[in-house]
Structure formats: structure tokens, C-alpha cells
């Protein structure tokens, strides 16, 4: 804490190991003490299933990030950055640890296989990602909008979706 400008910037970059470790075929990096896996879309479901059998019993969260405005981020070798990234958060109660899986999703084909088969609790979270980012989940039982109205156009958390100044329209309002 002595040097305010420089000291705090060092510990954040993931450990730049030359040869990333593999867990079930996906490279692992340690970020802030918890493992982060970089998986491909094809690997995702088998990876999550294998991890569940290893004791990562609960899927706490599925979310996404739109890297449109920030394409230059640190990724392990061999992982090509894409516009979207789906982030899956697992927890192991036995080992008392969390684990993140980051999946690159291209803009042209924003489809990810659903985790519903493995963790049915991802249903609402995947609907939220679909609603907010327009990323489809292949095999999802009910992929509809969850927070926005059913007839809404656009996906609000995308970076090219403007913020604010959208007139609120109430259904059947006389002068809408």
C-alpha cells in the first residue's frame, strides 16, 4: 500500500505460466486463488458433468460478458478471444472452493449448449443471458425472455445497446 499508483496493479494479472495446466481437457489458470477454466463450447457440457462427478455439486451462476468494447484481454495461449463470453460458476462444498468456466462465444453464431441436463437450476440464469445478450442455449426447455417483456426488441446488456432515453411504452396507453 506504500506506493498507491503502482503497488496495486501487480497482483491482478493471472499467473503467466508458460504451459497452462489442463483439467478435463480445459486449460486452468488461477485467478485470485480460485481456478478459472477456459473451455470451448463443445467441451462445456461434458466438462461440467465431469466436474459435477468430481464434487462440484452446484452451479451457482451462469452469466455473460460482451467484450465488444474491450477485445484485448488476457487469455491463455490457444484461446482466441470472441465477442461474447459465457461465465459459469461452480462450487464444491467438500473442497470449499469456487470455480469459473469461461467460454468464448462468437458474435456470428451465439449458441451455447445448455447446462440444464446437468444442473436444472441453470434454467432461469440461461434465460436471463438469452434475454440480456441474445445468446441462445441449445436444448434449453423454455428459452424465452425472463426480465424484459416478451415482445421487447434488442438485448439490453450488449455493449452496442444504448443506455437510457428510451420512452417507456405502456400497453394500450391512449396516446402512446
Amino acid at each position: 500500500m506504500a506506493d498507491p499508483t503502482i503497488a496495486t496493479e501487480a497482483p491482478v494479472a493471472p499467473d503467466a505460466a508458460p504451459e497452462p495446466e489442463l483439467l478435463h481437457g480445459a486449460p486452468v489458470v488461477l485467478v485470485h486463488g480460485s481456478p478459472v477454466l477456459h473451455a470451448t463450447r463443445e467441451q462445456l457440457v461434458d466438462l461440467v458433468r465431469a466436474l459435477r462427478d468430481d464434487g462440484w455439486l452446484q452451479c451457482l451462476d451462469v452469466t455473460a460478458v460482451d467484450y465488444l468494447a474491450n477485445p484485448h484481454r488476457t487469455l491463455p495461449d490457444g484461446i482466441a478471444p470472441e465477442r461474447f463470453e459465457v461465465v459459469v460458476l461452480l462450487i464444491s462444498h467438500a473442497e470449499r472452493q469456487r470455480l469459473r468456466i469461461r467460454v468464448q462465444v462468437p458474435e456470428t453464431d451465439p449458441v451455447v449448449p445448455t447446462l440444464f441436463e446437468v444442473h436444472p437450476g441453470t434454467e432461469a440464469m440461461e434465460r436471463e443471458v438469452f434475454d440480456m445478450f441474445g445468446i441462445s442455449f441449445d436444448g434449453h426447455p423454455d428459452l424465452t425472455r425472463i426480465l424484459m417483456p416478451e415482445d421487447w426488441e434488442g438485448h439490453p446488456l450488449r455493449k452496442d445497446y444504448g443506455i437510457g432515453r428510451i420512452p417507456v411504452q405502456f400497453k394500450d396507453a391512449p396516446d402512446a
Partner: protein, 438 residues
């Protein structure tokens, strides 16, 4: 760990029990409890065939027992609930999007409005996540003040639950008693933070202010009043045959189902699964205080009620220890990067003035990276996922609201019950819609 290790028994008609969570897939869980209604508005609105045996009705969004604006589409056979579809989004204001336009200092005012019954936890999760990115150590007094505020907030949140749970089940006196205790807790929060709700008290690097004079005495008086009040609740509710009749065996869930559906907090603990982040993945100074993790047995509404009632007692224990053990020192970090200079320095130093101005206009820059930090809110795991691009505003802020995820349990709890049971069940899940919709 109560999860059974063996595979389910096989009969000539296949497995008769659900497999342990490690083996059971999502499809199996849902076949077991096929209770989620998945139809669109148009399908629900279409005329039902004349010989239909079920009806679809809406409960909410304007229904007193739906805790705000939760709407449930119920498929009913007579009065028995078959399938349920929670319809949410009525309070959606795009807070995650808003969070991307606010600096880390302003972010607190945004997240604190999500779970408005326990705002301190939102602020804490947000700050812990940002501090992880900054690699910032918080001074011990700040840690203890944060913990004290959290437990005080847990008290008010659980009293809110006890009040509304009583109200939903027809015990109006309980509603008044619950509000009374909550109100006194809010007065103490107001004394410390200046506001009853939406405090923005926990800031990146510490807290907004030190504890005011006389806080120990005020808090001790409050804590002294609680045990006797809880005894009253026990007489009024826990030991009442009517109360037990309404709650026991209603809305049961197993550990396997709760884990599969991502449920955390009192819902998971009610199934006998002892998982509490405060004990199992300690943050703040929870590893230095003594308290018990309350678990249930049957996973029903009564267990969820009893867990929250007894967590009030545990929070009182933690608060008493916090009063005893509160260390002296700084209430925020002396790292000049995130903490503005003290008011007095501004009058004497031009640099201090510029620095102060910069922090409040531009904000402080947070190194690139992503981080997830979670706390045990009164409703379960509340986590904040932050992605920073190195600027003074989060590139992406995602909040894992426990209410949002816990709401998925609702159709499974309601399945096969009556509508009045449904009221008890919604109440026992204790969803805060501000956090569900964000």
C-alpha cells in the same frame, strides 16, 4: 454432508427413488417433480377446450402475499396446484446496465437498491469484489464494522421475514411485532449510516464513516430486548397448533433437489445440509466469532421459518461478540488511491484538493481482470461478478441474487399443494423482488 452415497434401489419398474445428486441428472430431477409450467402469454390467454380438466389462473402481480410484484401462473386441478410458472421482470430497471456507467464509488448507491431488505450485503459483496481486483487490504476495524452492520441488517431482514410470514398466514399481531423489532433495528442503522435503507455505507476500502458515539449502549439495549421478544414469538407461533398445521410438511424439498436447482441459504439449510458461507468459506472476521449454523430436517416451510427465527439468535450472539472485540484503528484504508484525503487537508494543500476532486469526479482506476466475491445474505449466496477493463467504471457488473435463483424452487414446492399452501410457500422462500428483477 447428508447426501447418501449409494445408488437408488432398482425394482422391476426401475429406480424408485431419486439418485444422489452426484449421479442424478437434471432430467431425472425434473421428471421426479415435473412441476414447472412452460407456456407463453398467448398460449395461456387462448381459450381452453371445453373439456379441459385444468384451469390456468394468475396469482399476482398485485396480490398481497406475493411480496411485491411476483406473478405466478398456476395450473390448477380444482384447488390443487399442478404446475407453476413464476413470471418476473416487473421491477426490472436495468441495474446491471446502470452499474456499467457508474464509478466504483457510485456503484454502491446502485447495488444497495437491489435487495432492499438487506442493502448492506449488496454493498459488501460489491466492495469485496472490487477490493479483490484492487488487491486491497481493509483495516481490522473496518472489517469488524462491516460484520457488525451485516449482522444488524440480518436481524432487520429476518424480522421482516417473520412479520410478513405471520401476515401471510393470518397472524396480524405477528406482523405488528415483527415491524416493531425491525423498526428499532432500522433506527440503529439510521444512527450509524444516516439512512434507514439504501445506506451506501460500505465503500471500497472500508466504510463511509466510523461508528458514532454511544453505539455500544444503543446496540446492547436493542440486543437485550430481543431474546424476550423471541420467546413471545415462540408462544405466538412456534408452539401454536394452527401455525404448525399450516407449515409442517408443506412445501418440502430434498437436499438433492435444492442442490440441483441452485438453492442456497435457508432453503438449502432447511433440508439438513449445513452450508453457510460465514462458517464454510469465511470472509470478514467470521472465523473469529462463535456461532452455530442452523439446519432443518424436513425441508418444509416450518423448517425455513424456524431456521430464520434461530438465525436471529445467532446474529445476536455475533453482535455481542462484535461489541466486545471491536478493534480500534482506521475505518477505511489509508491507500490514497481509493480513499480521499481528510477534509482538514484540503484547506492546506492544493494537491489534496485536486486529489479529492479527482476521486469524486473521475473515480479511481481498477486494474484489468475479473473477480467474483460472495457473501451469505439472509437469503443465500449473494455474489458480485465484476469485470474491469482498467478504467474507473466496471466493464461488466453482474449480481447473483439469491432470490432470483431461489425462485426456481417455487414450482417444485407448490406442486401438489393447495393455493393456501402456496401462500405459505411463497412467504417461506422470502423473495425480494428488487433483487430478483434488478
Amino acid at each position: 454432508m447428508t447426501t447418501t452415497e449409494k445408488s437408488p434401489r432398482l425394482t422391476s419398474e426401475g429406480a424408485q427413488e431419486m439418485a444422489p445428486r452426484a449421479i442424478a441428472g437434471g432430467v431425472e430431477v425434473l421428471r421426479e417433480v415435473g412441476s414447472v409450467l412452460r407456456i407463453s402469454e398467448a398460449e395461456a390467454g387462448a381459450d381452453a377446450p371445453a373439456d379441459a380438466e385444468t384451469t390456468i389462473i394468475n396469482m399476482g402481480p398485485q396480490h398481497p402475499s406475493t411480496h411485491g410484484v411476483l406473478r405466478l401462473m398456476l395450473e390448477l386441478d380444482g384447488e390443487t396446484v399442478l404446475r407453476t410458472k413464476p413470471v418476473i421482470g416487473y421491477l426490472h430497471t436495468g441495474m446491471e446496465k446502470t452499474g456499467e456507467t457508474l464509478t466504483y464509488l457510485q456503484g454502491g448507491t446502485n447495488v444497495t437498491r437491489m435487495d432492499y431488505a438487506s442493502p448492506i450485503f449488496n454493498e459488501l459483496a460489491f466492495c469485496l469484489s472490487a477490493e479483490q481486483l484492487l488487491g486491497l487490504e481493509v483495516p481490522p476495524r473496518a472489517v469488524w464494522i462491516r460484520m457488525l452492520m451485516c449482522e444488524l441488517n440480518r436481524l432487520t431482514s429476518h424480522f421482516l421475514f417473520l412479520a410478513t410470514n405471520g401476515m401471510d398466514l393470518g397472524s396480524t399481531s405477528m406482523m405488528i411485532y415483527g415491524w416493531r423489532e425491525r423498526e428499532e433495528g432500522l433506527r440503529i442503522l439510521e444512527m450509524i449510516t444516516g439512512l434507514r435503507m439504501n445506506h451506501n455505507f460500505i465503500r471500497v476500502g472500508g466504510t463511509a464513516a466510523d461508528l458514532p458515539d454511544g453505539w455500544q449502549q444503543r446496540l446492547t439495549e436493542y440486543l437485550d430486548s430481543i431474546p424476550a421478544r423471541l420467546e413471545e414469538y415462540e408462544i405466538l407461533m412456534t408452539n401454536q397448533p394452527i401455525w404448525r398445521e399450516r407449515l409442517q410438511g408443506v412445501g418440502s424439498i430434498t437436499t438433492e433437489e435444492a442442490l440441483a436447482l441452485g438453492a442456497t441459504g435457508p432453503i438449502l439449510r432447511s433440508t439438513g445440509y449445513a452450508w453457510d458461507l460465514r462458517r464454510d468459506m469465511p470472509y470478514l472476521a467470521y472465523d473469529q466469532v462463535e456461532f452455530d449454523v442452523i439446519v432443518g430436517t424436513y425441508g418444509d416451510c416450518f423448517d425455513r421459518y424456524a431456521i430464520r427465527l434461530n438465525e436471529v439468535r445467532e446474529s445476536v450472539r455475533i453482535l455481542r461478540q462484535a461489541i466486545e472485540m471491536m478493534p480500534a484503528g482506521d475505518y477505511r484504508t489509508q491507500d490514497k488511491k481509493v480513499t480521499p484525503p481528510p477534509r482538514a487537508r484540503i484547506d492546506e494543500s492544493m494537491e489534496a484538493l485536486i486529489h479529492h476532486f479527482k476521486i469524486f469526479t473521475e473515480g479511481f482506476k481498477v486494474p484489468e481482470g475479473d473477480a467474483y466475491a460472495a457473501v451469505e445474505s439472509p437469503r443465500g449466496e449473494l455474489g458480485v461478478y465484476l469485470v474491469s477493463d482498467g478504467s474507473a467504471k466496471p466493464y461488466r457488473m453482474h449480481v447473483r441474487g439469491p432470490s432470483f435463483v431461489n425462485l426456481q424452487v417455487l414450482p417444485h414446492l407448490m406442486h401438489g399443494g393447495l393455493i393456501p399452501d402456496g401462500v405459505a410457500i411463497i412467504s417461506s422462500v422470502d423473495p425480494i423482488m428488487g433483487e430478483v428483477d434488478r
